[in-house]
Amino acid sequence: MIYLILLPMLVSMILIAFIKDRLLKSHWIAVSMAFLSLVISSVFFYLYLSKNVVENFNWFNIGSYAFQISFIANNLHLLMAVVVSLISLLILIFSIFYMKKEKQERYYFEMSLFISAMLGLVISNSFILFYVFWELMSISSYLLISFWYERETASNAAKKALILTKIGDISLLAGIIILFANTGTLSISATISNLSTIPQGYLVAAAALFIIAALSKSAQFPFYVWLPDAMEAPTTVSALLHSATMVASGVFLLIIISPLIYASGTLIYILPISLITIFVSSFLALDSVDTKRILAYSTIDSLAFMFLAVATLNPNGALFYLIMHAVFKSLLFLLAGELLILFGTRNIFKLRGYGIKKPIFYVPAFIGLSSLAGIPPFLGFFAHAALSYNFSASLEAIFVIATFLTSLFSFRLFFTVYHEDKTEKIREDKSAIIPIATLSMLSVIGGFSLFFFNSIIPINYSFDLFLVLDSIIALLGLFAAYYLYSNRDASYAKLDKKLKSIFGRLTYDGALSASGIAVTKFGGLVDKFEGLLGKAFDKISSLSFDLSYVSRELQSGDLSNYVVIFIVGVIIVMALMLAGV
């Protein structure tokens, strides 16, 4: 019955596909179905609290191999389901405001597709089912990024995103195949309990492939380049997919197969990758002038934090951060979306020019950005607490620097945009306010859930010196940003230029397109070879023509020739005979 969780969104998809705004506006279908799935998830969460239920269905058989679909209901998965449904619902409500001017059916259809896939993913217990939803998320992400397909930037971004995440998809599939071939079962829970039966070599290979899959989906180094470009999508899409849910699914994967990762000894490779990611993304965030791009880099940054938690044997800490991150990051994106709709730009300088330092804008922004930076008493602070439980001293030191950078770029955004108040009263749309308000509230109080989170999922935290240091540094970042960015237009411009020259190379877009071109060129070479093959064959056939023309000479029409040939024939026959005897 667990699959009921994703049923409402499936229904929404089908309804929208066929009804298409005719009888019923598609946004109402989507919102009501999302609400329904929230209700169902919560019900299940309550029902199955502290239980672990697995349901199996037979999909197909080949010989003695059974390919099964299985769903799982336990605290971890159902909690995720609730969080996903809640965030989805809020974002869909916001979409009513945001997508008012667009052709909506396609949007809501694709969003419904995405949400069903995400919900399906979090309750999957079967690798193949997991892959199915994983892939469907890639596809719906592609469709949503290319929503404004007439823009060349959008279509390129979609293609880039899909190709890069496809690398992850392929790795995931390969990993699944390796595991299935060794264990004979597709069930995640069964595989985890039977880890000892898998030869170490395959275990390492599978773990490495899963890690690559996670890195690609969660936009970590070296795959992160797709996420900033994915900001071509409508902001609500970015809020849902590219901050709260889809990109988190990479981490989610690692969380649920963490025993496998730990057993394989590949853990150690995650650390350097995450660290590189953190610093690269932070610098790039400092360099960007687009609200969504900054937020995108911040997402990459936050995801890297989650990877750090996993790498330090603290998957549940990563989970806590994941959930908290979903809340404040989607809030931030919705804010960016609101500004985009109201003022038509994402450029922080242009927004600064509009002078929008109104409480209705900057309060939620402050809440969200503070969470991001880790300033108490907002969400982020508690999230950092859970996250850093297992950090070694050196890691803590690095983390502190990271926090500083995070805070710096977050408040750079804040102080640049919310500089002064020049505008008159703004009428706010209800569907815009409700989600933002909800998320802001959650960001304020949500952190305290850390204390009783333990009853749901075992989690460790300690409010130690490190944490205090961390928060102080975060505040430091805030003030530094204030100093640098608030009033000083001139110095800002200089700083900006200097940063750009250093960090511009970090996007390695050039390298990426170069590799794309290289592959295409190689394809061209193969194609040339193909053409040559074809020509070679044609040459052979034309040779036979030439041969034919030449051999016509034999039939010269001259009788004496014929007689000669005849006699020669007789002689040859005799010779052959004698040879045979």
Binding site: W59, F60, N61, I62, G63, Y65, I128, Y131, V132, E135, L136, I139, Y142, S146, Y149, E150, R151, E152, A154, S155, N156, A158, K159, L162, I163, K166, I167, I170, L173, A174, I177, I178, F180, A181, Y202, G516, V519, T520, F522, G523, G524, V526, D527, E530, L533, G534, F537
Partner: protein, 471 residues
């Protein structure tokens, strides 16, 4: 209960009708006759699936054991399903390509139809060969008579290559006859066990080479770009959807029933070759700017993967390859049919010359997406199952072969580029009014998609009909 001969009778009646109607100057449209015959056959097929099929046997010459006998073997049904259903689905597209000679075309179509069905049903190798030859001959005419410029040369190349493969197959069949004294599939299967392995290996090798030519798979694929490109698009759909499976079917017969023990010798080299071919095809497809060529090489890619699955010496790979072949046997024609439709609207199949069609032709765009996503292997569509099983089977045989999965990445690359060029960005198209898919085309694309989706969600429909033990 339903005698298999009934699957053939409607078409023969149809062909007779077509020629008779000319003699009697009736007003009956040729298209109606062929539609009707095919539809009747489809109904009979379903009746047969429900009630069961009976064999049919007509002995023609005892001396050389030549009898026209039909009997379903363990792997017949999926292919039979494809062979009966696909041509019907492609029917609406013919109106773009067939400008003249209606009667001949429909008669030829029925001949192709009946011979292909007969191939998949035959339990006598000689009659199987005979029907295969008839279908190939008809294919030659189909390619040549209604193709574009240069269609004769392409048709000729096609004919010569497939003739070579047919001769190889015939030689192998004759070797079987030599050893067992019979052309009957079931007798050969049981009698061949005693043969010495060198003999069996040679037989299998001949078939492997023949299949490599027919799929086609690198390096014997040179006939393909010409034949696929120069034919009418709907004919290309048939070529890629059905004819490419002939080699695979015969090879499967040998792998599963006739020479199972000999497969092991060839598994490794052939699978490696198949993997190389998959990459080769993917790379060539990457550099093609013409939609038809891209889909042709893509077809070659998936056939290479099917070959890889077939030779993996385990049931997962084998059933996976059957599934992949049937699944792609629906996806590829959909792609070609859409290409044909595009050609009729935009006048070209060159991707660089069209663009932004998503806005103007939303329905076309939808089905284009379906065709491409289905092809890439997005779950929910049938190709995913086939690919998954094939890769799994290959891995089980030799782990490193999993590298072939990267070809999917390249496929994604060129497919996405095609979407970008055709559907997205600015509209470059012709000035004249474009008409979106409607009426029969809509139904056609819809049914294609429906089949692809149903197979993708409920694969056991197909998989359960495969029985690797029964001859």
């Amino acid at each position: 209960m339903i005698d298999l001969i009934y699957l053939i009778l409607p078409e023969i009646v149809g062909i007779a009708l077509l020629y008779l109607k000319n003699a009697f100057h009736s007003n009956l449209s040729s298209k109606t006759v062929s539609y009707g015959a095919m539809a009747v056959t489809l109904v009979i097929l379903f009746l047969g699936i429900i009630f069961g099929f009976d064999g049919f046997n007509l002995m023609i010459s005892k001396a050389i054991d030549f009898s026209v006998s039909f009997n379903l073997n363990g792997i017949s049904l999926p292919f039979l399903f494809l062979a009966v259903l696909l041509p019907i689905l492609v029917l609406p597209s013919y109106k773009y390509d067939i400008a003249d000679r209606d009667l001949t075309f429909n008669a030829l179509l029925l001949v192709i139809y009946v011979s292909l069905i007969a191939v998949f049903m035959s339990s006598n190798l000689l009659s199987l060969f005979m029907f295969m030859e008839i279908s190939l001959l008809s294919a030659f005419f189909a390619i040549f008579l209604w193709g574009g410029d240069g269609s004769f040369n392409s048709a000729m190349k096609f004919l010569i290559f497939t003739q070579i493969s047919s001769m190889l197959i015939l030689t192998s069949f004759l070797m079987a006859f030599l050893y067992t004294g019979s052309f009957s599939l079931s007798s050969i299967a049981s009698l061949l066990h005693g043969a010495n392995s060198m003999y069996l290996s040679i037989m299998l090798l001949l078939i492997i080479i023949a299949a490599i030519i027919k799929f086609p798979v690198f390096p014997l694929h040179v006939w393909m770009p010409g034949a696929y490109y120069d034919s009418a698009t709907s004919i290309t759909a048939m070529l890629s959807g059905l004819f490419s499976k002939l080699g695979g079917y015969v090879l499967l017969l040998f792998i599963v029933f006739l020479t199972p023990n000999a497969v092991g010798y060839f598994s490794m080299p052939v699978m490696v070759l198949a993997a190389i071919s998959a990459f080769y095809a993917a790379f060539v497809a990457l550099s093609k700017k013409d939609l038809k060529l891209m889909f042709s090489y893509s077809s070659m890619l998936y056939m290479s993967l099917a070959l890889m699955g077939m030779m993996s010496n385990n049931p997962i790979g084998i059933e996976g390859s059957i599934f992949l072949m049937v699944s792609y046997g629906f996806i590829s024609p959909l792609a070609f049919v859409l290409t044909g439709y595009l050609k009729s609207q935009a006048g070209t199949t060159d991707m660089t010359k069209v663009g932004g069609l998503m806005k103007k032709l939303p329905v076309f765009a939808l089905f284009f997406f379906i065709a491409i996503f289905a092809s890439i292997g997005v779950p929910g569509f049938s190709n995913f199952i086939g690919e998954f099983l094939v890769f799994l089977g290959a891995f089980k045989f030799y782990p490193l072969l999993i590298i072939s999965i990267v070809s999917m990445l390249i496929a994604t690359g060129y497919y996405l580029s095609s979407i970008k060029m055709v559907l997205f960005e600015k509209f470059l198209g012709p000035v004249r009014k474009l008409r979106d898919l409607n009426g029969s085309e809509l139904i056609q694309a819809g049914v294609f998609s429906l089949v692809i989706i149903i197979l993708g969600i409920l694969p056991y429909i197909l998989l359960n009909s495969i029985n690797l033990g029964a001859v």
